[in-house]
Structure formats: C-alpha cells, structure tokens
Symmetry: none
Subunit: 401 residues, 2 copies
C-alpha cells in the first residue's frame, strides 16, 4: 500500500484545523561574504519563537539532489509522491495562467520559435519575444475549429504559449513536435498508441495552420508543441485525508495545483494582507488551509538576496495573525529551495517546522537551514509532512490493531 492508500484508510474527520504555510523557494544558500543564508540573515523573531515550540527538520521534495519545479514541489507537500503523481507539462502551463481545463481537454506547451528558409529551427525561443507580441500572435491563432475540435491558444510569458484542444475523442498519447534542439526541423506529432491517431492528426493540422499565420511574424515564424497532457485525475484531499481543504494563493500556478488535489480555491489577492484576510474569512469553513507565499521564490529567482530577506521579515510580521487563529497544527515550510546566489530553484533540503500540542519540540530555537539540521523530524521526504500534520491534528487512526 502506498502512502495515499494508507491515508485513505486511516484518516478521520475531526474538528481540528491544520494550516500549512508554504514560503515558496524557502531554502537558501549563504551569502559568500556574510556566510549566512537568507533565513539566517533575516530578522524573524516570530518564526524563531515558533520554531522553539515546534518540531523542526529538513525536507526533500523529490529525492536528495533533485531540483523540483513548482508542480512536484507542491504535490510532495500535499503528500503525493511526485515521482508517482506526475502532471504533464502542458497542463502545468495551463494551470499557471489559470486556464479552466475541463475533463477531456488536452493541453500542450507551445514555444514560438524561429525557422530558417529551409524550415530548420534556428532559435527555440524566437529571441524571447515580449509577452505583448505573444499575446497578439496567440489571439491570431486562437479559435480555430478542426474536425469538431476547438483549439484554444493563450499567451503565457515571453515566447511561451498554451495550446488546448477541446472536443470529443482526444488523447494525450502523442509525441512532441518540439525536438528540443536547434538545427532540426519541427517533428510531426505522432500517435503513441492506436487510440491517439485522431489527436495526432488534429495537432498536425493545427501546426500547419499556425505555420501559415506565422509566416509574417519573424522571428516568431514557427511553433513547437510539447507535453500534450490532460488534467490528472488524482484522488482529492477529501478522498485521501477526509479534509475540507482551502487554498489561499495569489498566483495562478498554485491555485491550479490546489485544484488538482480538489482544494477549494478562495478569493484572495497577492499581498499578505489580503491572504491573511482570506484566511480569517474562511477559517470557520474548512479544516485545512494551504497558505502560499510567492515573494520568497520570486526574489530568489531574481537573485535578489536582500529582497528575499525582506520578504521573510515581512512574513514574520504577519505570522502572529496566523497564530492568533489558533490552528491545532501549524506547519511552515517551502516547496523547494530557491537560493538567491543560484538565481533559480535548487535541490537543497528545505527547513520545516510543525507546531501543535503533541509535536514534541526539539532543541531547535531558530528557524534556519542549519538549525533545522538538528531538528527532531530529521531529514525526510516532503511527502511525509502531510501524515505528520494529520497525526498532530489527531486525525489519523492507529495502523493495525
């Protein structure tokens, strides 16, 4: 039995409430001059005080050494092994722009690209054209109907677009047209099994149509599609944990990921003030809250050490407002590391604290990467955190008599 099966079997409905705060990209690396990480640099008295009352540790989202994207990072925090529960690239892109994927839709990630006169790819990103230009092109490509299948095209960012096929009898078992290399021609989309011939044909007809539309849009005169995928049919938080879960997240990708596991996504904004207000407004109506903070990751991605420090300090000021609500279990962690000196997602383990009446606090009294090394949770896979949260909320039955 896998962990999801175990949770299905053991989960109890109770009155207790769990708040899981995800400081996106929380883990960091030391500044070469000060030798302190972002967390170690930040003035975070409230987080430190909470750590002192918590059981702390480090978590690995996928496996040691593996740098996760946002999808796998969050699925792990939600208790779904990201090597087993995989979300396709097309679907992830669609989630990232809050696209309302319906059952049966097949989403693909598109790159606007540059082709030479022979049709060979010379730039897979069309010189990273602006989002504004992509929007114009997407609107020209949007709305085609092929053999009863509606093709919906939306810009994402720069050269990135999403192409969603909506209609009867589609399949995601088709190959990419994107060869992921320059110097080659785009590949025809081919069926991977017998039931995906129609999908491959429609995709190829769309690409042929797009080629004509794009002729005049050099450097964006070609289109590459990859990651054809459907919205996954994962068991929901309700089925697995018996939880009525609420997602408070200001950005589309995280709202989308929460929807994938069946959370209710409530109205909020992108500021902590708005998110805290949403938490307050909904606190009586749910028993699990996924509370997402984007700023830490965004600062890390930008390589902005001091902005990441500021975001952490700002969150620290809002932490008492969460504690005041008296959740039975409060977790603070991240979905992965985004060290500013790396300027992107990293593989480094992520600090975590779990506070609750029965957590058995350890000797960690500072919330930082190095302090958490000595925490009572040890260094564990991130997908074990949900069972730990459930247990601390007394929401799990004994396993075996």
């Amino acid at each position: 039995m896998d962990q999801i099966g175990l949770m299905r079997q053991l989960s109890l409905k109770t009155e207790t409430k769990i708040v899981m705060v995800v400081l996106d990209g929380l883990g960091g690396l030391p500044d070469p001059i000060t030798n302190k990480t972002e967390l170690e640099t930040a003035n975070i008295p409230n987080l430190n005080a909470l750590a002192a009352k918590s059981i702390c540790g480090l978590s690995n989202p996928v496996l040691p050494g593996i740098t996760p994207g946002s999808g796998p990072g969050h699925l792990a925090l939600f208790g779904y092994d990201p090597l087993q529960y995989v979300i396709g690239r097309g679907v992830l892109e669609a989630l990232g722009i809050d696209f309302d994927l319906r059952p049966g839709d097949v989403a693909s990630r598109g790159n606007l690209c540059t082709l030479d006169t022979q049709g060979i790819i010379t730039d897979r990103r069309a010189g990273r054209i602006s989002t504004d230009k992509s929007r114009v092109i997407a609107s020209q490509l949007n709305g085609l109907e092929i053999d009863g299948v509606q093709v919906i095209v939306e810009a994402v960012k720069d050269h990135r677009i999403v192409v969603v096929f909506r209609g009867e009898g589609l399949s995601d078992a088709v190959s990419d047209s994107d060869p992921q290399r320059v110097g080659l021609a785009p590949q025809p989309v081919t069926a991977i099994n017998g039931s995906s011939n129609r999908m491959a044909q429609i995709a190829n007809r769309f690409i042929a149509h797009a080629s004509k539309v794009l002729t005049n849009h050099h450097p964006a005169n070609g289109l590459l599609l990859r990651g054809f995928s459907r919205k996954p049919d994962f068991p929901s938080f309700k089925e697995v944990y018996n939880l009525d879960a609420c997602a408070i997240a200001g950005y589309p990708m995280y709202r989308g990921l929460a929807k994938v596991v069946g959370m209710s996504v409530v109205k909020t904004g992108t500021t902590l003030t708005e998110e805290i207000q949403s938490l307050r407004d909904n606190f009586n109506s749910y028993d699990f809250f996924f509370f997402h903070v984007k700023g830490t990751d965004a600062a890390g991605e930008d390589g902005d050490f001091s902005r990441k420090v500021s975001v952490l300090e700002n969150f620290d000021q809002f932490l008492p407002a969460i504690i005041e609500l008296k959740p039975d279990v409060l977790i603070v962690t991240g979905d992965h590391s985004t060290p500013a000196i790396l300027g992107g997602h990293g593989w480094q383990s992520v600090p975590v604290l779990v506070q609750g009446k029965y957590c058995r606090p350890d000797s960690v009294s500072v919330f930082s990467e190095n302090a958490c090394v000595g925490g009572g949770l040890g260094n564990i896979p991130a997908c074990h955190l949900m069972p730990v949260a459930m247990a601390n909320a007394l929401k799990l039955e004994k396993f075996g008599a």
Copy 2:
C-alpha cells in the same frame, strides 16, 4: 520511475568535474580503551578542514543493518540501487581477479573442499589451502572443452577459484552445487528453467571431471560451485549521467566494478602516489573520477586498528593534491564500514562529505562518524549520493516545470 530513469531524464553534459573518493571500509567502531573510532583517532587536518567547508552526513549502502560486499557497496555509491542491480557471485569473483569476462560467459564461484569417503562434505574450504596450491589445482582443471564449451579455471585466494564456461547457448539459470553446509553431499546442478538444461549438464560434467582430477589432492578433494552468473548489462554512466567517467583503482575488484557501469579504467598502481598521478594525468580528459583507496578496508579486515588509522593519516596527506586540481564537486566517503574491532565488513553507516560551491556547508567541522550525525545531508541511502553530486556540479535539469 526509478532513480536511474530519473537521472537519464535530467542529466546534462557540462564542463564541471566531480571527484568521488572512496576510502574502502571507511566507517569504524571505537577502540574499547580510547573510545575513539579509527577516524576519530587519526590526525587528519586536511579532511577536517574539508569537512568544515562541506555538507556532511552518513550513508547506508543497502539498508540500515545490512552489511554489503564490495559489489553492492560500490553500486550504491554509483547510484544503482544494489537490491535492484544485482551482480552474481561468480561474476564478482571473476571481476576480483581481473578476468576478462565476455558477453555470453557464465562465471561461477568455486570452493575447493574436503569430502569423506562417502562423498560427504567435511570442510567447505579444504582447510583453507594456500593460494599456491589452489593455483596448481586450477591449472590442472583448466582448459577442458565439453560439447564445444570451454571451461576456464583460475585460482582466486586460498580455497577460492573461479570457473568460467564459455561457448554458445549457455545460461546462468542453474542451481548451485554447493549446499553451503557440511554433512551433506554436493548437489547436482539443476536447470531453473527450460533453456538452462544444457548449462546444467555441462556444469555437472565438469564437476564429474574435476572430482577425478581432485582425488589425489586431499584435503582439496572436492569442488563446490555456486553463483552461476553473467556479466550484467547495466546502463552505463554515460547513458545514465551523461558522464565520461574514469576509474582510478589499484585492485582488480574495483576496476571490474567500474567496468560494469562503463567507466574507463585507466592505468595506475596500488599506492596513493601512483593513484594521484593517474588522477592528474587524466584530469582533463574526463568529467567524473572514481578514486579508490583500498588500504582502509584491508587494515580493517585484518583487525588492525592502528594500521587503519595510519592509512587514513596517509590519505590525509594526499588530499591537498586532489583539492589542488579544483574539482567542482569533491565527495569523500566509503563503500561500507570495516571496523577493525569487527575484523570485517560492517553494517554501520558511513561518513560522507560533499564539497562544492552550492553545497550549503553545515556546522560539522570534523570528519568522523559522530560528527557526521549532525550533518546537513542527514542519514541517507548511499545511492542518493550520485544525484547529490550531479546537482552540486549543476549537471541536473529541474524535475517538472
């Protein structure tokens, strides 16, 4: 997807270089008088200074409590789960004497043994006869041809020999003749499936022939065969990690294990001076280096605590020569513990350090079993070290968007 599949998917070819130093049998146990392990006793300033700049931890080669042989111990370090990637005993013996196993060959481990007049085994090791005597016997058994199959026999050490069957249509799906107990007769080799009848017949004919030859060699008047196996067809370092890997190892077993995963095995000697020279000579030509130090294990196996301490101190003097080459990632660990007071391989976790620009050093400033308990890597399966090394060398793409 297993870890090997994940590495295949994520590995990038880059300019960075990884050096993995394997101090064979590194982990130890405290001397009952001083209460210090071999590592804790040794004067190793360079290893300690390196540990202070590294992320440290402990690794378990197979599972907690499991004592690995050299095969599983090294496969784990190479990132191949040793419970999934199994090398047969016969093949391991052949690798240990640098035997050039070819595709199709079936190798078996032989024990020269003592039989009584009824043909019952009274000593499975023939009084541990000398290697010299085994060599004489092996040469008498060597060179037989049975039904087109060549039988090659070579001495290993003491009573141990290797018997390799070379010809068409062989199979390793046959049972052992060695009952692994005294008081029983050797068992006939039997086919485990329909396609291994011929192999069983040939093995039995060889054993019958050997019995005649051995009659006059009491106490080595019998032969027991076990572990019939072929050289495994594991995916190579190149396929899995996109690495051009170089093995620097003075002893045949480790050269053989490196070949099993497709490393280039370069010329070297058994001294650290020679091994360091080989590392220097080849440093520009490869991007991964497996650097094997045998002395620690040999001393541990001999129960020689102070010699193991000396080997560690000697290695410590050579460490700066490795650091001078400026590998992007430097790992120092062992394939298992060989505590001198145990006088053999042990199951105890093995200290490990990983140094690189993005490793996030922890508070460990001494390289020892106990200090590494507090390391940032935690206590992890040894097969996770390769992904950690690859990540630190920036050789892995992000998993999922």
